[in-house]
Amino acid sequence: MARRAAYLDEVWSTGESILVLDAGDLFGQRTRIDREQTRFLCEVCSEFGPDAIGLGEKDLNYGVDFLREMRDTYGLPFTSCNVSIEATTDLVVEEFLIVERGGTTFGITSVLDPNQAISTMSAREEVFTIADPVAALRKTLPRMRKAGAQAIVLIAHLGDAQSEQLLRDVTGIDVCLVGHTRRSYTTERLINDTALIAASFEGRNVGKMKGDFENGTGKLKAFQVEVTELGEGRPDDAVMLERVESFKLHLEEFRLAARGPYQPTLGSADEEFLTDRECRKCHTDVWDTLMQSPHQAAFTTLARKGQAQSPECLVCHTTGYLYKGGYDERPPLDRLKNVQCEACHGYGTQHDRSGDWLAQAKSSCVTCHDKDNSPEFDYDTYWAKIAH
């Protein structure tokens, strides 16, 4: 956030006409801690001056009421023309937005992939209808033109392939911002006179497209894209950094009150994690290999990012976090930092007693190396890094 704030300050200082967009899935996972964090994120994002935010399936994780509360409290301009509440058939948010910028009138809307499952953690479970994006756009685009839109911007929360297909079926769109992707388009891409842009993921990248729109018609005549990775080399905005750090302290209090859904409910209170130093006493042959594996730096990596208190991260960056007797920040369980032997093989006391070890150790890899957190995971390649 601090780097994004610094980046935006830099862009605004140029005096250019700026249109700020987000491709959707702004909100976090369906946990209380993530909801608290999302609230803060919304507050900060509102200060970034967004002109339009596409609706992703995650933006309904906390229900319509929460979404509308964020929209109304922080003035977040969500838009979507194909997601409605089944019971009332009302669209969840504004069908489209009209924004005047730099002499051009922009019409902005978004569509969500109908194959996405929307489930909420709100008290009353709403059911949503996601209409076919092509059919929805064929109704909405003429309305946008009628409302004065010259240039049409579509936020396609459809992923890469479906967005490209949609642009072959629907014409008259000047710019298409692709969401629900992990890719960032670092070169100029064009399909049927529509510029395709994307900058993802988890706020790690921010995109900038300089577009030349014909005066009077709003037709896109030329464009240039640039994607900036907000890595450690980028400067932080000092004020924002302080706010983020202060919020983390608040979140820590929030976590102490409750670990949310990440309670240590698995396993048995009669068993104990012995730590890898105990394992070493017998398994000296594998010790060196394990000490050099990336698993041994799992917690350090997390701490360096200031996320050592995040339950959703600790599940995979420590040993036994969701198990009784597993990692806790309080001693003596804080010795279970990193992914130690018992993270895959189970309680040491069990093994010590019977010689058994968790038979499904191999399949346990994917509990953390899942599609979201380890998209490039391949068992054979990754196993080679820790082979023992």
Binding site: G28, V178, S200, G203, G207, K208
Partner: protein, 69 residues
């Protein structure tokens, strides 16, 4: 022989036409290189008036205020 002679005359004329075309093409290229009137290369050169707007965009932030790991 007369046939061969006619054929030779025909080929000679064709050769002259080709040479003329080649010469004209070379002249045109020289003119372009010398800064003579050029074909418009952008919409700006065609007199199109436009507005420049910068789009700043992110996506799939997923509630993160700082990425972990």
């Amino acid at each position: 022989m007369p046939l061969e002679c006619d054929s030779w005359i025909f080929d000679w004329r064709a050769l002259m036409r080709t040479s003329t075309r080649t010469a004209l093409l070379l002249l045109a290229m020289l003119a372009v290189l010398a800064g003579a009137p050029q074909i418009p290369t952008s919409y700006a050169d065609q007199g199109v008036d436009w507005n420049q707007v910068t789009l700043i965009y992110t996506g799939d932030v997923g509630g993160k205020i700082d990425p972990c790991g």
